[in-house]
């Protein structure tokens, strides 16, 4: 199982400036745990109280994971995950 994960600029300090990293897991939740085990601290930037943070967008291939079951979204070998901080404010 190998999933490509695209990391936004703001989280690259966790990935030694790598734009793209590899992770494993059958669900988004598992992929995030796997990412956090490789790049300590990144999980906390994505999750809050066990759910995806409201202003972090995650896509599997081209689909927003909120339409795929959020953390329970299924991920398969060869999928590409993109993480993007929301562009939002008041």
């Amino acid at each position: 199982m190998s999933i490509e994960v695209r990391i936004p600029t703001i989280l690259r300090p966790y990935t030694k400036d790598q734009k793209t990293v590899e992770a494993e897991g059958a669900t988004l939740s598992a992929v995030i745990s796997n990412l956090d085990s490789q790049y300590a601290g990144i999980g906390e930037r994505l999750l809050e109280d066990g759910a995806l943070r409201r202003f972090i967008n995650v896509y599997i291939n081209d689909e927003d994971v909120r339409f795929l079951g959020s953390l329970e979204a299924q991920v398969k070998d060869g999928d590409s995950i993109t993480i993007l901080p929301a562009v939002a404010g008041g």
Binding site: P8, T9, I10, F55, N57, Y59, D62, D64, R66, T82, L84, P85, A86, V87, A88, G89, G90
Partner: protein, 138 residues
Amino acid sequence: MVLEISRAFADAMLEQSRAEYPDECCGVFLGPIGSGKPVRHKPMVNAAHSPTFYEFDPKDLLALYREADDNDEEIVVIYHSHTETDAYPSRTDIAYAGEPGAHYVLVSTRKEIAPTTELRSYRIIDGEVTEEPVIILD
């Protein structure tokens, strides 16, 4: 840091902010990676359709980053309008600022200052706001 932006681009932001009033408007300027220059304007839809909040639609956001990648561009400026308050980042602007390399531009359409409109630029990094000079190029 200084933001240098053309008169036409500055005017375009101000026009959009008036056109979309009373909602906040938003958008970006893209430029070649590493150039720091705003060369392509992309107005965005405020998916929140609100006078007090703005948010790019998540689908538009992904399309924007894909397009930038394909064109070897980066987001140089992220702008939005404040409809009744100063052109200064709000608490939520600071909390959600996720592009440490971008100039965050705020324009204000508050009535006391109409028809002139404020346009100011900031860096927002780790909750720290630093205002920077704006040079409008004629």
